[in-house]
């Protein structure tokens, strides 16, 4: 076998497509941009929704979600928070769950649940505003 000094392939060429997941820094960057979005959206929602809705009544809730500004904010909050939490939980699962079957099963659930909830929640806000 030839040693590293006589090898024709560059260091980059040898490591390409051999990473742990093949996605590089995508996960790190996605966690960061969603966290910046959430640092703005989450406090806005908590303060404005609790001031507007107070006791959690139906009419106050519909009123709050029918405002176009609030509806767009809530949809963005749903997308950013569900994506962010899925990325975060993925990290937790990879850190603590080592049995292959359990790990893959949990990763699939962690990918699917936020997607289903997100579709349902976004559809809910849209149908509140445009539905019958």
């Amino acid at each position: 076998m030839s040693g590293p000094t006589t090898r024709m392939r560059s260091a980059l060429g040898r490591v390409r497509h051999h990473g742990a997941s093949g996605e590089g820094t995508g996960h790190f960057i996605a966690i960061r941009w969603t966290s910046i979005a959430l640092a703005l959206l989450a406090p806005w929602f908590v303060v404005s929704a609790s001031l507007a809705i107070r006791d959690g009544g139906y009419l106050a809730t519909i009123d709050f979600l029918s405002d176009p500004f609030n509806a767009v904010g809530v949809i963005l909050l749903v997308i950013a928070s569900l994506y962010h939490m899925s990325l975060g939980m993925q990290e937790v699962i990879l850190d603590y769950i080592h049995r292959p079957f359990t790990k893959v099963a949990l990763l699939l659930i962690n990918a699917g649940v936020p997607l289903v909830l997100g579709a349902g929640a976004v559809f809910a806000v849209l149908s509140l505003n445009f539905g019958v």
């Binding site: 908590v46 006791d55 749903v78």
Partner: protein, 132 residues
């Protein structure tokens, strides 16, 4: 390599039990803990939106829980977890720039995040009770 430590003698991941408890360690554990809690909160948040869109009868099944002692406790804990995860998340975004990493700075900011988590839900409660 004579004299090199055998793999099993190498220093391994810092086990929690051998470390004196300090603020930066607590802040790291609390970040995961609050993140996992907020995963549940986001699921409840999605169900809340879908219940609102489903109509008054469906919403009436979940609305009474908001004003009970356990509903209020859960909401209070969600606000505390969110406040903590927000403050500590911003702390980590600052860390990403390379700032605030000296032991003294990291300790101070960890305490700030913990105190913010205590103060924020009290502040929101005060705003709802006495303000606006």
């Amino acid at each position: 390599m004579a004299g090199a430590p055998r793999p099993e003698d190498r220093p391994i991941s810092p086990h929690l039990s051998v470390w004196r408890w300090h603020a930066t360690m607590a802040s790291s554990i609390l970040h995961r803990f609050s993140g996992i809690g907020l995963y549940g909160a986001a699921i409840l948040f999605s169900f809340w939106l879908m219940a609102a869109a489903a109509g008054q009868e469906t919403y009436a099944q979940i609305a009474p829980h908001f004003t009970t002692w356990y509903g209020q406790t859960v909401l209070y804990l969600i606000v505390a977890a969110l406040a903590y995860h927000l403050a500590n998340g911003i702390r980590h975004l600052v860390f990403d720039t390379g700032m605030g990493l000296t032991p003294t700075d990291a300790d101070t900011s960890a305490w700030f995040a913990i105190l913010f988590a205590i103060a924020a839900p009290i502040g929101l409660w005060a705003l709802l009770s006495f303000g606006a």
